[in-house]
């Protein structure tokens, strides 16, 4: 220690100290600042891995180079957002033919989905998966989201996103189980029967408002049971069958003689 202290006025000391300070700053910066989101840095190896997954699981229907065929859409140009939605909700790989692919447990891990998405995105430019900030319900305006939802979504998905039926066995699914990213990518890509709501139609901020509105519905109904939130038919059925039935039962009991 004394030997170092003796050289503290050496002419190289400022340079050495500066170098040391730079090294420490760099190391602290690297440790503290998070790296860019993993989805944004898809490497060539990810695309290769995605291609392998695609060939094994998707190419049977979509074709070896994702060109599609009769009744099966091409995946060239659908983008990572579409893959993320379809695969993370378990709609793809499709288990069987039907009016529409139902949502199930996803087959692939998050990493595998990202690899598949990277491969499909590499085939042609398309919408990308949104960042966590773009889909954060806390940053959205739920009131504006409600106005947008009423105009653009409620006719199929119901007033609070409980879902509803379409023609010939198709249906608009319940939105309560969807993640904010899935709601965003669904609007962006228009899966299956759903139309596309591109960023010129509903801007990214407006999409986040809609996510905030749907997030607010997850707290449930303040009035107790919502009876499935499917509208006045279910509520009237409840009132007429259960409510009037109970009243008739009470009237019969009042009129009956005691044993």
């Amino acid at each position: 220690m004394k030997a170092i202290a003796a050289h503290r006025h050496h002419r190289f000391v400022p340079a050495a100290l500066l170098l040391l300070a730079l090294l420490v700053t760099g190391a602290v910066y690297a440790a503290v600042v998070p790296g860019p989101a993993s989805a944004a840095v898809m490497t060539t190896s990810d695309i290769t891995a995605g291609q392998k997954l695609f060939t094994a699981n998707c190419a049977t229907c979509h074709g070896p180079s994702a060109e599609g065929r009769d009744g099966v859409p091409t995946l060239v140009g659908v983008g990572a957002a579409s893959v993320d939605f379809q695969v993370s909700t378990g709609r793809m790989p499709m288990a069987r033919n039907g009016p529409q692919a139902p949502a199930t447990d996803p087959v692939f891990t998050t990493e595998q989905i990202a690899q598949l998405a990277a491969y499909v995105a590499s085939l042609g430019a398309g919408p990308a998966v949104p960042s966590p900030e773009q889909v954060d319900p806390a940053l959205g305006n739920a009131a504006n989201g409600m106005a947008l939802f009423r105009t653009n979504c409620a006719m199929c998905h119901g007033a609070i996103g409980a879902g509803g039926s379409l023609s010939e066995g198709k249906y608009a699914p319940r939105l309560g189980n969807s993640t904010p990213t899935q709601i965003y990518t669904a609007m962006l890509t228009g899966p299956q029967s759903m139309p596309v709501f591109n960023d010129a139609n509903i801007s990214p901020e407006e999409k986040r408002d809609i996510i905030a509105f749907l997030d607010a519905q997850l707290e449930g109904s303040p009035g107790g049971s919502d009876l499935g939130s499917v509208g006045p038919i279910a509520e009237a059925l409840w009132v007429w069958v259960v409510g009037i039935g109970a009243l008739i039962g009470a009237a019969v009991w009042i009129g009956a003689k005691s044993s």
Binding site: A147, L148, T151, N152, M155, C156, G164, L166, S167, K170, A172, G190, Q192, S193, M194, P195, V196, F197, N198, A200, N201, E219, G220, S221, P222, G223, G224, W253, I254, K257, S258, S259
Partner: protein, 343 residues
């Protein structure tokens, strides 16, 4: 109903040989049957206890509701509002239903059980009463002198006939505001009016409408219009861009679309519900009320359901800035076919 009740000469027999009476006679009241609580002191005590317990449940319900109100107040969150409502409602239900059920049970099991029957008296009044009533009416007519004072008769009839007009004319006159039904034939759309997004009112560039997307459209300047909500109900439009390969267009409507972008009225031609359930794969537009289905790729013709005519098409084009504008109003009344008769 045994043999001794069969009177008269005609005795019919049922298929299994038993004799049946010609007509059923009044069987009278069933014999009085004592209740369990009337005969058995233990049952009496039991019924009393039941009533006491029911009143007790009511008291507990009241206490529970008060405890819920004071001890578990709502902090404004949805979950706490739900909990408070549930507990208050449950307490109130027990408090009220306990009293009601206890009172009915008390009356049925413990209060006196005498049965009385009262016969209905005939509805026709006696002859003296009827004659007296007619005499009173006749006296009234004679007294008023209406038979001999002809002018008076005319005056009273005129006054009575005219008086309701003071109520009826303003009432009928105010129905619907005015009687100009022809305004239902026209909407806010006119040559050069821009298409705007509902609800923001932003204009729509033709290049923004990509294939498969759907825009819900209102006319520009809607909010400035008189009775804008009524105008919106007539003017709402659905905007879709279709792949030119699937789009079928009538010869005289080739220039009503713009590069595959078509605009149709959102008001169902059946009974006027907003048709907006668009399935982009089949290009079918479904009405949620009665399942009328329109094929947007083929002139919005009806492919299913009770609607009788296609949705009216709004002819569109773009202005020099690239925004979508209407070429003209709809060329037919929108909505239910009833208005078509006004053409």
């Amino acid at each position: 109903m045994s043999d001794e009740t069969t009177t008269g000469d005609l005795v019919r027999t049922s298929p299994d040989g038993e004799s049946l009476p010609e007509r059923f006679e009044n069987p009278g009241l069933p014999p009085h049957r004592a209740r369990l609580a009337d005969t058995d002191p233990a049952a009496d005590k039991r019924a009393e206890r039941t009533v006491v317990v029911l009143f007790g449940i009511s008291v507990l319900g009241t206490i529970g509701a008060l405890v819920a109100y004071f001890a578990l107040p709502s902090d404004g969150s949805v979950a706490s509002v739900r909990q408070t409502t549930l507990l208050l409602g449950l307490g109130l239900f027990l408090a009220m239903a306990g009293i009601g059920i206890a009172a009915v049970h008390w009356a049925k099991t413990l209060m006196s059980d005498h049965e009385r029957s009262e016969n209905r008296h005939p509805q026709r009044s006696s002859d003296e009463t009827r004659a007296a009533a007619i005499e009173v009416l006749r006296e009234g007519v004679t007294d008023s002198g209406i038979a001999r004072r002809g002018v008076l008769k005319g005056a009273v009839v005129s006054a009575l006939a005219l008086a309701p007009l003071a109520i009826a004319v303003p009432l009928v006159g105010e129905v619907g505001g005015d009687w100009n039904v022809s305004k239902f034939r026209h909407t806010l759309w006119e040559r050069g009016r821009r298409l705007a997004k509902d609800p923001s009112g932003e204009f729509i560039k033709a290049s923004d409408v990509t294939i498969g997307s759907v825009f819900h459209v209102i006319p520009d300047g809607l909010r400035e219009a008189d009775h804008w909500i009524e105008e919106k109900a007539k003017a709402v439009v659905l905007l879709v861009r279709l792949d030119p390969r699937v789009l079928v267009e009538a010869e005289d409507r080739k220039d009503w679309s713009y590069e595959g972008i078509v605009a149709y009225s959102k008001i169902c031609t059946h009974v006027g519900c907003p048709v907006a359930l668009y399935e982009q794969q089949t290009h079918h537009l479904l009405c949620p009320c009665h399942q009328s289905t329109f094929d947007i790729a083929d002139g919005a013709k009806v492919v299913f359901g009770p609607a009788k005519r296609p949705l009216p098409q709004l002819p569109i084009t773009v202005d020099e800035e690239g925004y979508l504008v209407a070429q003209d109003d709809f060329n037919e009344p929108i909505g239910p076919s009833f208005w078509e008769r006004l053409k």
